[in-house]
Every structure is written in structure tokens, then in C-alpha cells.
């Protein structure tokens, strides 16, 4: 809980802390929160300017950094921008991969057709449809999902 007289940035800081501190054992979470509150009450007067409050909060460190330290884990890295080395693959290249997979499914289906035809000597048009239908349905389904997810973005 924050004090009614806390600066609004301090309140916001503790909202962030509470959102992220669920990973901590309750007793350690309570003690850590008390210490951080005491620190910020000393560092940020209720009538402090926004700049003063931001400066004190920056010096204290973000809730995620402090919680990572409490867990004895390395400081969480900033998310890498899409396309950066080690970052998320760019969306366009993900689309290319999906298209590649669809084409691969179709090629495998077509390649298997002669084998299937040779295994069934008296093949009819119905047999052919039954053989080709599953891979075609899968390919169409994947394309549909890709198209929908792109429209949502």
C-alpha cells in the first residue's frame, strides 16, 4: 500500500512493483517493498516536482531490476528489436518461412502421389482425390491462418 501523500510517480512505481513481485516469496516481497517505500519517502517529498521524482526513481532502479536481484538472477535484458541479432525474426521473414513450409507440403504430396499410384494398380479419380485432399486441406488451412493473423496486425 502507498501513502496517501506519495507522489503520483511513486504510486505508479509501486503499482509496477506489485505487478511484477508475484514471483517473490511473500515474506521477502513484503520486506523489500517496505524498504523501497521507506527509501522513496525519504527521497521524494509529496510536493516534489515530477523531474525530482523521476530522478530519485531512476537512481533507485526499476522494479524489474530490483526483483531480478532479489531472485539472484541477471538483470532482465531489454527486448531486442525485431530483426536484431538474437531478436525476434522480422515479420516479413516469418511469412516467407510459412510460405516455404506450405510449398514444401505440396511438393511432398505431389512426390508421394506416383508412389501411391504404383502401390494401388487400379487407381481411380476418387483414389486420387482422397490421396491429394489431406495435404491440400493442410496447406489451405495454414494459408488461411497466416492471412487472418496478418489482417489482425
Amino acid at each position: 500500500m502507498t501513502n496517501a501523500a506519495d507522489h503520483r510517480f511513486v504510486e505508479s512505481y509501486f503499482r509496477q512493483f506489485d505487478d511484477q513481485a508475484g514471483v517473490l516469496p511473500p515474506a521477502r516481497c513484503v520486506q523489500l517493498r517496505e524498504e523501497l517505500q521507506s527509501h522513496l519517502r525519504d527521497a521524494v517529498a509529496p510536493d516534489a516536482t515530477d523531474l525530482e521524482a523521476l530522478d530519485a526513481i531512476a537512481q533507485l532502479g526499476s522494479p524489474s531490476t530490483i526483483i531480478a536481484q532479489e531472485l539472484d538472477a541477471p538483470t532482465p535484458p531489454l527486448p531486442l528489436p525485431a530483426g536484431a541479432p538474437g531478436g525476434q525474426a522480422p515479420k516479413s521473414s516469418r511469412g516467407l518461412w510459412i510460405a516455404f513450409l506450405v510449398i514444401l507440403v505440396l511438393i511432398v504430396a505431389l512426390a508421394l502421389t506416383p508412389l501411391a499410384l504404383s502401390a494401388i494398380p487400379t487407381v481411380s479419380a476418387t483414389h486420387l482425390v482422397v490421396l491429394l485432399l489431406p495435404p491440400l486441406v493442410i496447406a489451405a488451412g495454414v494459408l488461411l491462418i497466416v492471412a487472418r493473423s496478418r489482417r489482425r496486425r
Partner: protein, 120 residues
Amino acid sequence: MVDGATSTQLRRGVVGPCILALLSSGPRYGLQLVKELDEIGGLLSSLGTVYPLLNRLQESGFVSSRWEITDDERPRRYYELTEAGSIELRSFTDDWRTFSSTVSGLLGSIPNITTESEMK
């Protein structure tokens, strides 16, 4: 302040014993410790990282804490060195003397090392 993974690891290793060293001269509350460590300089990447360390030192039995009302009538948690903490501090002090003299000797024997502060 020095950035980088190596200095971060170094700080993580030494700030705890530095807290014990400060507490060896008497009990202090959290913010007092943070301010004193900050004034020494170069030890803290951010002030808030002291509090998880205090929690850990308490869990290890090296410090104990109690609430006290200070002159400004604000309750504060005071930390105090325990007997186990004193033993740990003595042990670290011995280790550090050997360690730092070994590393300093090694670094001193390498010619033409320009430190970051000399470059500025």
C-alpha cells in the same frame, strides 16, 4: 561508473561484504547504508540493489534487523551485524587481501595497460 558484465559480477560479489563492513561499526537503517555505499562510489549500479542484498544477508544469518522509531518519528528497519556476520567479514577480509594483491600483482606486471580513467 564502469559498465559491463565483469564489473557487474564484481560488484555483486563485493557489495554484500561491504555492507557487513559498514555494519561492523554499528547498526544502520537501509537508506543510511545505501547513502554510505553510494558515497564510496563505483559500488552500486542502482541504489535499490542494496535492499535485496540486505534481505539475503539476513536470510544467511549475517545480519539481523529490528524496527525502531527514529527522531523524525518514522519507523525504520535497523540492520545489525550478527556473530556469524562478523566471522564472515573476517573471512572475506583475509580472502580479499590475498585475492586483490594477487590480481594487482598480475595486472601490474603487464606493460602498457591503459585504464579507462587514464583514457579520459
